[in-house]
Symmetry: C2
Subunit: 130 residues, 2 copies
C-alpha cells in the first residue's frame, strides 16, 4: 500500500499530451499529464472524463452549447485553475488548450483513448505507468 | 458544463466524516470530506477507494501487512500530505485518523458506503450534493 505524490510523479514527465498512469481503482485510471498548446478536437463515445488542475491553468473548449443562454453550436470555453476540476460527459466534443504548460490529473475509465474518436499525431494508444 | 472549485466547496462543509458529492462520472462519485479524529475500522467488499489530500494531513491505518517486510496482521500506517493520494483496495481493513482537521477528495463508486461493512454512528447512508 503506497501513497503517490503528484509533484514527484509530475517531475518525471518531460513531454506534453502524453498521459501517464499513476493509479487504478474500480476499472478507472488516475493519470497525470502535462498540457501545452491546443489539443485535438474529439469526444468519447461512452466515457466521461475528469480534469483536475494541479499546476498552471488551461481552458476547455466546447463546440456544443453548455448552458441555456448559448445558441446551438456556439463554441464555449471554461478556464480551469489549480484546485479546480470539471467532468466532460461522454459524447461532448471538446479540446483542452493551454497557453502555458499546465499539469493535470485525469480520472477516467481504463479504456479511455486520449483522443477519443480521433486518431492523429496526439493519439497515445498505450499508456505507461510511472 | 461547470467547473468545481475544491476550496469553495470545502468552505461549505462544517462537520467531520460527512462526505458530500461534488461530481459524478462513469458511475463513480467525487466527494469532499473533512476528517478529524479517528474514524471507524472497516473495509469495502467490492469497492476500491481513493483518498487525495487537499489540505492538512492524515494517516491511513491498516490492520493487514502492506509490504513484504511486515509480519502478517501487523498494523501499518501511511501518512498522507497535501498533493498525495492513495488507493485502498477493496477488502483491505483500514481507518483514516486525522490529529488535526484534514480536507480530502475521494473517488469511489457511487455505491460506496463510508463505513463499508460497518454500521455505526459514523455511517452516512445518503450523501448530499454540494
Amino acid at each position: 500500500m503506497k501513497k503517490i505524490n503528484l509533484s514527484e510523479k509530475l517531475s518525471l514527465i518531460n513531454d506534453h499530451w502524453n498521459p501517464r498512469i499513476v493509479g487504478e481503482l474500480n476499472g478507472q485510471y488516475l493519470k497525470l499529464v502535462k498540457f501545452k498548446g491546443p489539443f485535438t478536437w474529439h469526444h468519447h463515445e461512452t466515457e466521461d472524463e475528469m480534469f483536475l488542475v494541479v499546476k498552471g491553468r488551461f481552458r476547455m473548449e466546447f463546440r456544443e452549447a453548455n448552458d441555456n443562454s448559448s445558441a446551438p453550436g456556439e463554441q464555449k470555453e471554461v478556464w480551469l485553475e489549480p484546485g479546480e476540476f470539471m467532468v466532460v460527459p461522454h459524447g461532448v466534443e471538446h479540446r483542452p488548450v493551454a497557453d502555458e504548460e499546465a499539469e493535470v490529473l485525469l480520472f477516467e475509465p481504463a479504456s479511455t483513448l486520449n483522443t477519443g474518436n480521433v486518431r492523429d499525431e496526439f493519439t497515445v494508444p498505450k499508456l505507461d505507468w510511472i
